[in-house]
C-alpha cells in the first residue's frame, strides 16, 4: 500500500488543474475502483484529487426530452430518479443489477464509466498483462478465461468491460461531457470505450486531468419500454456473464420498427449490437427473428474452450430480452 497525498477539490477547474499538473495523480470519486486497485498495487497514484464535493451530482432535464446526469450522481440515486425510471427503465435496471446497495451509494456515474476490468490477471498485479504493463503479454489468452470476452478482442487482451449501466448508455447514444486542460468536449459513448487492439492499456480517450462532468442521455422514445436482462454466476452482487439491454418498437403489422440492443459481459467494451439491430428492423417480432439477429451479431465471436458457452448463452439472452420488451 503506497503512500498517498490527498487534496479535496472545491471547483472543477481546481480539480482539472491539480491532476493535469501532477503526473502521478488521479481523480478520486466514489473510490470503489480507485481505492481497491490502489490497495492491490494495480494503480499507483501518488496523489488523489477528491472530486466528491464538486457540484456535479444533479440530474436535470435538457431541451428535447433528454436528461443530463451529473458525473458525481451516485448509481443508487440515478437508478431511482423518476425521469430515468420512466424514460429509460432498462438503464435503471442495469444500475440496480450492478454491485450492491453500499457500492451503488458510493460509486459515481463518471467513475462507473472509468472502472477497470475484473480480469483476475489484471487485478493480481503480478501476472503478465498488456492492460496493466504493456508488452508483457496476456495471461488470459491461455489461462482461466471463462468470464472473458468473445467480441472485440485482440491477440493482446480479451478482458471484458465490467459496467452494466454503460451497456445501456451505448445503446441510448449517450454523450460523455468532460472538462480537461484543453477545455470542454463531448464524446459519444460509442467512441468513449476503446477496444483493446494493440493498446489494451488505453481504455478511453480521456487525457490525464480530463474530468467527466456529465453524461447526456438523449430522448429515445423506444427506450421507455426498455429492459436489461443480466445473467451471472450468483443471483445478485456479481458481474455479468451475459447481459442484454433491449428496446424494440413493433409496428401494427407485428414487425420491428426500431431496435436498440447492447450486450454486456461478452465484449471488451460495452457492446452495441448494431448488426443485430439492423437484422431486426423490418422483420416480424418473433423469437425466430430475435435468434437470427443474435446469430448475425455473434457470427464472428472469437471463443476459447472455457468461454465458448457465451455464444449460445448470449443468443438465448438476446431472444429472452427481446421477448420481454415486446410483451
Amino acid at each position: 500500500m503506497r503512500p498517498l497525498s490527498y487534496v479535496r477539490a472545491r471547483t472543477v477547474d481546481d480539480a482539472v488543474a491539480a491532476v493535469s499538473g501532477t503526473p502521478d495523480s488521479a481523480f478520486l470519486a466514489g473510490g470503489t475502483t480507485e481505492v481497491d486497485l490502489w490497495r492491490l498495487g494495480v494503480v499507483r497514484p501518488a496523489m488523489l484529487v477528491d472530486v466528491n464535493d464538486l457540484p456535479l451530482a444533479d440530474i436535470e432535464d435538457v431541451p428535447g426530452g433528454g436528461v443530463r446526469i451529473g458525473a458525481m450522481a451516485r448509481m443508487s440515486d440515478v437508478a431511482r430518479d423518476a425521469r430515468i425510471v420512466e424514460r429509460y427503465p432498462g438503464m435503471s435496471e442495469a444500475l440496480l443489477l450492478g454491485a450492491s446497495e453500499q457500492l451503488r451509494n458510493m460509486a459515481s456515474m463518471g467513475g462507473n464509466l472509468c472502472q477497470r476490468t475484473r480480469c483476475a490477471y489484471f487485478r493480481d498485479g503480478r501476472a503478465p498483462c498488456n492492460k496493466r504493463e504493456p508488452g508483457t503479454g496476456c495471461s488470459a489468452l491461455n489461462g482461466f478465461n471463462r468470464g472473458h470476452a468473445i467480441l472485440g478482442t485482440s491477440e493482446h487482451c480479451i478482458a471484458t468491460h465490467p459496467s452494466d449501466v454503460a451497456v445501456a448508455l451505448v445503446a441510448l447514444d449517450a454523450v460523455v461531457r468532460t472538462i480537461g486542460p484543453d477545455g470542454a468536449r463531448a464524446i459519444p459513448a460509442g467512441d468513449f470505450f476503446l477496444p483493446p487492439g494493440d493498446t489494451p492499456n488505453v481504455e478511453h480517450p480521456l487525457q490525464h486531468g480530463e474530468l467527466i462532468v456529465a453524461i447526456d442521455v438523449p430522448d429515445v422514445p423506444v427506450a421507455r419500454a426498455s429492459r436489461y436482462v443480466k445473467h451471472r454466476d450468483r443471483a445478485s452482487y456479481e458481474f455479468a456473464l451475459v447481459s442484454v439491454f433491449a428496446a424494440l418498437a413493433v409496428d401494427g403489422a407485428g414487425r420491428v420498427a426500431q431496435a436498440r440492443l447492447a450486450l454486456g459481459g461478452v465484449g471488451t467494451v460495452p457492446w452495441r449490437a448494431r448488426r443485430a439491430e439492423a437484422s431486426l428492423v423490418g422483420r416480424p417480432a418473433t423469437a425466430e427473428s430475435f435468434a437470427a439477429a443474435a446469430d448475425e451479431e455473434l457470427s464472428d465471436a472469437v471463443t476459447r474452450p472455457q468461454n465458448a458457452f457465451k455464444v449460445p448463452f448470449a443468443k438465448r439472452a438476446i431472444v429472452r430480452a427481446c421477448g420481454e420488451v415486446i410483451r
Binding site: P3, Y6, G21, A46, G70, E101, G180, G183, Y237
Partner: protein, 180 residues
C-alpha cells in the same frame, strides 16, 4: 451544473495533505474526534485502529463482503473503500452508535431473537445494512430483502434468519411507532 467552462485555470495545487501524518477531525456517532492519520488510511482502519471502534469488521478489505458497512451522511457505504480523510465534514455512524440509552436497536434485538448469526463476524455490517434497508424502503418481499442485502455476505449462511429478523422489524414498524 457548471460543465461548459471552456478552460481550466492553471494554478498551483493548494491544500495538498500528506503523504505523511496529518491532523484530521472525524465525526463518528455524533462526537468529533481529532486524530492523526496518513491520507492513505481507510475509514475502516481509522475506526478500528485509531478510535478503537472495532465493531466494524475487516473481512475482505476490497469491497466484496460488506462486513465494514457503516453510514456516511446516513447512507450505507463500505468503510474499507473509503479514505478516512475524505470523511472530514461528514457524519459517520457505526454499529456502536445504533443503541440508544442502553437499549439495543430493534434490529439488534431482532437479530438475537431470530438467531440471525452464528460466528457473528458479519453481523455488525448486516445490521447496519438492514437498518438502512428499511429506511430505504426496499424490503417489501423476501426477494427484495435478499436482493438489497446482497452486499453483505454471511459465510455461516444465516440468511434465512437474517431475513426473518428484518421482516420482524419491518412488520413491527408497520404496526406503529417505535419499531425502528
Amino acid at each position: 451544473m457548471g460543465i461548459d467552462r471552456s478552460t481550466a485555470a492553471k494554478t498551483a495545487v493548494a491544500g495538498v495533505r500528506g503523504p505523511g501524518v496529518e491532523p484530521a477531525a472525524l465525526t463518528v456517532n455524533g462526537a468529533t474526534y481529532a486524530i492523526e492519520i496518513e491520507p492513505r488510511v481507510s475509514l475502516l482502519d481509522a475506526l478500528r485502529e485509531h478510535l478503537d471502534l472495532t465493531g466494524s469488521k475487516k473481512g475482505c478489505d476490497q469491497g466484496t463482503c460488506g462486513a465494514c458497512t457503516v453510514w456516511v451522511d446516513g447512507r450505507r457505504v463500505l468503510a474499507c473503500l473509503t479514505l478516512a480523510i475524505s470523511c472530514e465534514g461528514h457524519e459517520v455512524e457505526t454499529i456502536e452508535g445504533v443503541a440508544r440509552d442502553g437499549e439495543l436497536h430493534p434490529m439488534q434485538r431482532a437479530f438475537i431473537e431470530h438467531d440471525a448469526f452464528q460466528c457473528g463476524y458479519c453481523t455488525p455490517g448486516q445490521i447496519m445494512s438492514a437498518i438502512a434497508l428499511l429506511r430505504e424502503g426496499n424490503a417489501e418481499t423476501d426477494a427484495d430483502i435478499a436482493e438489497f442485502m446482497s452486499g453483505n455476505l454471511c459465510r455461516c449462511a444465516a440468511y434465512p434468519n437474517i431475513r426473518a429478523a428484518i421482516r420482524a422489524v419491518r412488520d413491527a414498524a408497520d404496526d406503529g411507532p417505535g419499531g425502528g
